[in-house]
Every structure is written in structure tokens, then in C-alpha cells.
């Protein structure tokens, strides 16, 4: 028996005390949904985990109303200091229940426990800690003094990082003084519902956070709901596009984190062993269910064969299997639908003429699985080099010069992330300058931090999450007069100067409503 065939080291499920049924979390309480409930299953075994309520339009309206009430009556009136203290409480509670949340996440999502335990959940706590500290410092968010919260935020999140995406959405929204209605993905509602219990333990005022479950129609109803001031969505570009159309002409502002087809560029002077790790981490982290995954490997032609050979060797040490096993590197594909899409696009890759290589590994009988796969001999025109596969599938392309690498990297409607691997500092900075992507990892990949803005160019969406920029996405500048007065400035200054001292919305890509735009206008030309 091989030493590498480590005995299974499953994380205990005993730490979980799940309910058999979960309702909607509205106004601080779990209530029944009026839609037809659905089951959430474990994608690694297809076993049922729990029954989940389904919010219909009336439920959505109730949740938005609860959020509005909480906004008007408590949250918007509360001091930043106290809002911050609530967020710190939540951060601590997440830390206390880290193991439980990690197990639940791996169970419901299929991701390896080592990722939910070492990446997802610690980042969730970090996100709340980071934004907790912002709550009473909003004057320094870059929008001038006394920035205003927006009101009720409708937040729709995906299934790839269920709890982490929840934190990315809720933490800055609450810190800025908004209340939220959040809808987790249909296939991964579990940790959001455990999080609702945490909200109760934190004694957060009812209605500040509402969590409603359901499918795409629930999300669409939420985005469309009257009384929503801000929409924050992470998911596919197709749905993001639909949301942008849906809210056109309204006063709703939007942050959209959409798809990607990131180039991971490896130059011939790259730190090769670390680059191999970065390639692996870039595309096989979370089974490749990552919008910023490095799914296009652009490798300098003169080291192509060596890189592919090393990559294959490295991949053969990856362990695919039970997500709750601490030694698992590659967990389950989140759903049957996703698995089918991965299969379909991979088959297209073969039909297009690319060479497919998959890790020879045993695939469990039940559940949804896809062996880590590399496509070589991929041309830029192939669909597998252009479309987001959202699975453990890497397309390898080559380039000859830095300019060609940049051109190929940018040759996509997406622009979320990119990787650069080279030992040459000046090249890193110059290439980083020219890549049209919101996050550039140089000699590393797939790193996340609450202080670091994340978001895309082009069809990867707009707005940023994380950092000061992510906070600004939930704020608007104070009306000019108030900001100027608070800042101790008189009205005698010329218009230009006044405008300059009360910078309007710093959020780089959010839409500005006619109302807020008007409020930023002062004086007359004639």
C-alpha cells in the first residue's frame, strides 16, 4: 500500500446540529415561505441535507419591508460606533463557530474541508472584522464628510463561496448603515441559514439582515422589488446583464461581480516550482468554481513542454474525493447542471481539436465529480479558451513576447483577474499596467483579503468589493451644503472649489441616479 494512500481523515459531522427544515429569515425570525420548498443536497453524495423554504414575491416584499422598517427605525439612526460593535460581535461568533460553518459549507457545497476551514470561513470572520472598524469612520471613506447610506440593499450571491460571498455583501453594507435582504444560491443555502442563527445570537436588531431562499425567480423578484435602493450581485455575466437591464431607469445602484476567463501568464524566467503551484491553485482551487480562476494558461512557448510536463506530474498528486476528508484537494462539482456544462464544454474542446488530459483518478460512485483536466494545443479561437467553464479545466496557450501575452490576455470580453509569473520586476509592473483586469496577481494567485478591492473590467462587471472601495459602494456623498458646513467651510468659496472639496461618489463604476446627481449640482451658469 502506498504511503500516499493516506487513510481517510474525515472531519466529524457531529459538530453540526442542523434542522430538518429551514424557513426564511425575515425580521429576525424564521418564517415559512409561501413558495414550494426545495431540498438542499450534498453534491458529493446526493444525500438530502435539509428542506429549504422558497420565497415567493410576497415573501420578498415582506423581507424588503422588514429591511426598510429596520433601516428607518433603528439601523440608519444608530451610531456608527454601535453598528461597528454589532459587526465585531458577528465576527467573533463566526470565529467561535468556524469548524461548524466549515463542515456545513463543505457538506452543502462540495468544496474540500481544507479550503472551507483554511480559506472561506477565516476570511468570513476577517471580512466582518475589517468592515466593523469602518462603521464609525465613514467620513474617511473617500466621499467627503457625512456620506449617506443608500437604504435597503438587495444582495444575490452564488454557490461557489456561499458564506464568503455573504460576508462580502453583508459586512460593508451594514458598516455603511444599510439594511439587507440577501438571497443565497439555491444549491447552497445552508451556511447562510446558520449565519441567520448567528445574527440572532448577536442580537442584531430585527430586519437589519434578512435572508430569503429560493431559485433565480426569487432573486429576480428581489432585484425588482420596490423599496430596494442598491443591488449587489455576484454570479454569471448573463444574469448580471439581465439585472443591469432590469434596473435601468430606476434609482437603484448596482455592484456586479460577474464572470471571468483569467489569463495566467508564465514567462520563461518564472520561479517555476512556485508558478506550477500557482497554476494549480489558480484553476483547481475550489474545483475551478471561481470567477477569477486562472483558466487560460498563457505560457511562453520555449518552456511550454516543460511546464505542461511538470503540471501533469503535480496534478497526479492531487487527491479527489470526500470533501470532508482533510486530505482532499479536489471536492465535488456543485451540481449536476454544472457538471453537465463542464462536460459539454470539455467535449467541445476535444471536437475543436485540443488535446485533453485528465488526472487518472478514481471517481466516487455517487455525487458529481470531474477529474482535473488540462487542454493543450488550444488556440485562441476555441470556445474553451473564450468561455467560462467554471470547473477544473485548464486551457493552455502559448505566446512569444510580452506584447503578445498581453494582447492574448486582454482578448476577451471579460476582465476580472490575471496572473503574471516572472522574476523580472520591471516586466511585472509593465505587464500589470497593460492588463485589462481588476485584480492582478504577480507571482501568486487567488489571494483574497478584506482590505483589498476585488472586481472586474468590461463584462466582468462593475463596482468593487473589499477595501475602502467596497465600502464606498454602499454610500453616497452628503448633499454638498451639509458636507461643506460639517467640514467647516463657508459658502463664499467659488463653486469650483466647493465642488472639489465635496467629491461626489467615488465608487468608480456605480450608476449615479438623476436624484443624487442633481443633489451634487450647485449654482447656475447664467
Amino acid at each position: 500500500m502506498s504511503f500516499l494512500e493516506y487513510a481517510p481523515a474525515p472531519e466529524s459531522r457531529a459538530i453540526l446540529s442542523l434542522r430538518d427544515r429551514y424557513g426564511l429569515f425575515i425580521g429576525g425570525e424564521f418564517v415559512d415561505g409561501r413558495g414550494t420548498p426545495f431540498q438542499t443536497i450534498s453534491p458529493s453524495s446526493e444525500e438530502r441535507i435539509a428542506e429549504i423554504a422558497n420565497a415567493n414575491e410576497a415573501d420578498v416584499a415582506d423581507a424588503v419591508a422588514a429591511a426598510r422598517r429596520a433601516y428607518d427605525r433603528t439601523w440608519s439612526r444608530m451610531s456608527g460606533r454601535d453598528r461597528g460593535k454589532y459587526l465585531f460581535r458577528i465576527a467573533r461568533l463566526v470565529q467561535e463557530r468556524t469548524r461548524e460553518l466549515a463542515v456545513a459549507e463543505s457538506l452543502d457545497n462540495g468544496k474540500p474541508i481544507k479550503e472551507s476551514r483554511d480559506v472561506d470561513v477565516p476570511l468570513v470572520a476577517a471580512w466582518f472584522f475589517y468592515y466593523a472598524g469602518w462603521a464609525d469612520k465613514l467620513d474617511h471613506a473617500g466621499l467627503g464628510a457625512n456620506p449617506r447610506s443608500l437604504g435597503v440593499a438587495a444582495q444575490v450571491i452564488p454557490w461557489n463561496f456561499p458564506l464568503l460571498m455573504l460576508a462580502w455583501k453583508i459586512a460593508p453594507a451594514l458598516a455603511a448603515g444599510n439594511t439587507v435582504v440577501l438571497k443565497p444560491a439555491e444549491t447552497t443555502p445552508l451556511t447562510a441559514l446558520i449565519f441567520a442563527e448567528i445574527i440572532q445570537q448577536a442580537d442584531l436588531p430585527p430586519g437589519v439582515v434578512n435572508i430569503i431562499t429560493g431559485a433565480g425567480d426569487t432573486g429576480a423578484a428581489l432585484v425588482a422589488a420596490e423599496g430596494v435602493d442598491k443591488v449587489a450581485f455576484t454570479g454569471s455575466t448573463a444574469v448580471g446583464r439581465a439585472i443591469a437591464k432590469q434596473i435601468a431607469g430606476s434609482d437603484k445602484r448596482a455592484t456586479l461581480e460577474l464572470g471571468g476567463k483569467a489569463a495566467n501568464i508564465v514567462f520563461d524566467d518564472a520561479p517555476i516550482d512556485q508558478a506550477i503551484e500557482g497554476i494549480v491553485n489558480g484553476i483547481f482551487f475550489n474545483q475551478g468554481h471561481v470567477c477569477c480562476a486562472g483558466s487560460r494558461l498563457l505560457v511562453q512557448e520555449n518552456i511550454h513542454d516543460e511546464v505542461v510536463e511538470r503540471l501533469k506530474q503535480r496534478l497526479s498528486t492531487l487527491r479527489l474525493g470526500d470533501p470532508l476528508d482533510k486530505n482532499t484537494d479536489i471536492g465535488a462539482i456543485n451540481s449536476k447542471e454544472q457538471l453537465e456544462r463542464i462536460r459539454e464544454l470539455s467535449d467541445i474542446g476535444v471536437a475543436e481539436g485540443a488535446d485533453r488530459w485528465s488526472v487518472p483518478c478514481e471517481i466516487p460512485e455517487n455525487g458529481f465529480w470531474y477529474a482535473p483536466t488540462i487542454f493543450t494545443n488550444v488556440q485562441t479561437s476555441y470556445r474553451i479558451a473564450r468561455e467560462e467553464i467554471f470547473g477544473p479545466v485548464l486551457s493552455v496557450l502559448t505566446f512569444r513576447t510580452p506584447a503578445e501575452a498581453i494582447a492574448k490576455a486582454n482578448n476577451t470580453p471579460y476582465g476580472l483577474s490575471a496572473g503574471i509569473w516572472t522574476d523580472k520586476g520591471s516586466r511585472i509592473l509593465a505587464v500589470a499596467d497593460q492588463l485589462r483586469a481588476g485584480v492582478i496577481w504577480a507571482n501568486t494567485f487567488n489571494r483574497f483579503d478584506p482590505s483589498s478591492p476585488f472586481g472586474g473590467y468590461k463584462e466582468s462587471g462593475y463596482g468593487r468589493e473589499g477595501g475602502r472601495h467596497g465600502l464606498a459602494a454602499y454610500l453616497s456623498p452628503a448633499p454638498i451644503g451639509q458636507a461643506a458646513i460639517t467640514a467647516g467651510r463657508g459658502g463664499a468659496q467659488r463653486r469650483l472649489e466647493t465642488s472639489g472639496t465635496a467629491p461626489a461618489d467615488l465608487e468608480t463604476t456605480a450608476k449615479r441616479s438623476p436624484r443624487s446627481a442633481r443633489s451634487a449640482t450647485k449654482g447656475s451658469k447664467r
Partner: protein, 286 residues
């Protein structure tokens, strides 16, 4: 005996050249009292297409120029405009039917806005960007970068001020623009284009279309190679449809503004057409 004046032919400004509309169309621009003022080119969708191509070609050079350089180029516009102040004042008086004092104020304010925005060019990134103190051995910095090609429906109620107020901030970060001028008051925009053509602004960075915003805007809003659209002057159009069309390629959209000083100076007008790029790099002594 008075001299017979030589009237100017107003054309489009695309890629640094002054072509007529490829459609051959013009429309009559009238004085405030209804009298004939001039013929302006009536741009077609193909002119819009050509303008986008020119803008795309220019964005790399302009966005890649140093902010100091961009600031100087923008300041140079103010200098040139100051030198031709009388021409613009006269043009506005005639077109808008306002007093010399009002026209002068508009020109002065326009010049001063170029100056204000020129000064932002090498400061904006310091205000909009920052280092991020991540929990790990990484250098991490966020910087604003130009969004790319920005289409602008200029404010419709002024000849020069609205046009400048919308165009200048988009240029600060390094975008190139395709601007649809005020339909009623298009002449100053073309005169400004003549200033730009003799300034240091690289060709293609600013492209000016005159004609019907209602006709041209949908082509720009739906054009895949346009990254953002400023609908500031589109209030009288079916701008919701424009926003919906823009959503097809997830364009950044600024919604219409009304009021006497639409597109008033604000840092937000610069940041609206930037993308925050965050760069990570490992740090180690080993």
C-alpha cells in the same frame, strides 16, 4: 464698405480629421431668433462607428501617457481657449442669444474647468487609489485606470460649458471619448474641436459628432467596443432604452442630469470612468 464675411463650414471631428458626415447630410443650425446660423454635419451611425474606431486606437497612447503629460495637454487646451476667447464669446452670443456678459461667463467657466481638471491628472490616482494592508506577505496596491472608450451625450442646453464639463473629466484618467454635441448648439463644440486639433491632444482622443443624439446615441449605447456611456445630456431621449442597450456589454452608465449646470465639476465624474485595478505581489527577504 463692409467686408463680405467668409462663413465657416462645420464638420465632424474624428480621429484628428474634420470629415463631413459619410452620409452627406447636414442640418440647419438656427440662431436664438430663428434665423439661419450655419449648416452642421448630421452624423450617421457609420460616423459614430468611425469615431469609436478612432477612439479605440487612441486610448492606449493617451491612457499610457504619464499623468503629468496628460495634465499639461489638458492645461494647454485652456491656454488655447483663452487665446480664442473672443471667438467663442461671439459664437455663443449668436447661437444662444445671450448677452456678451453671459456668454463671457460661460467661456470663462469653461476655461477654468479645463484648468481644474488638468490639475487633477497627476493627483487623482493618489486620492482614488491606496495601498491595501493585507494580512500576508504581499505588496498590494489599488490604482484607478481609464475605463477605455467613453461615449458622451453632451448636455444639450449650452454650447460650450456643458460640453467641456462632460468631456474634460473623462479625459483626465486617460479615456478617449466620442461626444455627441448639443443638437441645438453644436457650433462651439466644433470650434473647440479646432482648438483640440491644434493643441497637443493626440488625434482620436476626442471625437465630436454633431447631429441628432436620438439617432446616434442608440448606436453608441449598443456598440460593443464602447466601455462606458455618459447620458448626462440624454434626459430628453429615451434614455432608459439606452441604458438597457448599454447593459448588453455591461457598460458603465452615468444617468442623465438636468439643471442649469449639468455635469458640474466633481471628482466623481473622473472616477465614474475609471476602473480600480488591484495588484498583488509577494514580499520576502528570503
Amino acid at each position: 464698405m463692409s467686408r463680405l464675411a467668409v462663413p465657416k463650414t462645420y464638420k465632424l471631428y474624428i480621429g484628428g480629421a474634420f470629415p463631413r458626415s459619410e452620409s452627406g447630410r447636414t442640418y440647419e443650425v438656427l440662431k436664438a431668433d430663428g434665423g439661419f446660423l450655419a449648416n452642421a454635419a448630421k452624423a450617421s451611425r457609420k460616423d459614430a462607428r468611425d469615431a469609436v474606431v478612432a477612439a479605440r486606437g487612441a486610448v492606449g497612447g493617451w491612457g499610457g501617457a504619464t499623468p503629468y503629460n496628460r495634465g499639461q495637454v489638458l492645461y494647454r487646451i485652456a491656454e488655447l481657449l483663452e487665446g480664442r476667447r473672443a471667438q467663442f464669446v461671439a459664437e455663443i452670443e449668436e447661437a444662444e442669444g445671450v448677452s456678451r456678459a453671459v456668454a463671457s461667463a460661460q467661456v470663462d467657466e469653461s476655461i477654468d474647468r479645463w484648468v481644474w481638471y488638468a490639475g487633477w491628472a497627476d493627483k487623482f490616482a493618489q486620492v482614488a487609489g491606496n495601498a491595501n494592508p493585507v494580512a500576508g506577505p504581499y505588496f498590494n496596491i489599488s490604482v484607478p485606470e481609464p475605463t477605455g472608450v467613453v461615449a458622451i451625450i453632451a448636455p444639450q442646453d449650452t454650447s460650450l460649458l456643458g460640453f467641456v464639463s462632460a468631456v474634460a473629466p473623462a479625459l483626465v484618467a486617460g479615456n478617449s471619448v466620442v461626444v455627441v454635441a448639443s443638437e441645438r448648439f453644436p457650433l462651439s463644440a466644433i470650434s473647440l474641436a479646432e482648438v483640440l486639433a491644434t493643441s497637443d491632444v493626440p488625434k482620436g482622443v476626442v471625437n465630436v459628432l454633431t447631429g441628432s443624439p436620438a439617432e446616434i446615441a442608440p448606436w453608441l449605447a449598443s456598440h460593443s467596443d464602447v466601455n462606458a456611456i455618459d447620458l448626462v445630456g440624454a434626459g430628453d431621449l429615451d434614455w432608459i432604452s439606452l441604458e438597457i442597450a448599454a447593459a448588453d456589454t455591461l457598460k458603465r452608465v452615468l444617468r442623465p442630469e438636468s439643471g442649469p449646470d449639468a455635469a458640474a465639476p466633481a471628482l466623481g465624474r473622473i472616477s465614474a470612468f475609471t476602473e480600480t485595478k488591484t495588484v498583488w505581489h509577494t514580499k520576502s527577504l528570503r
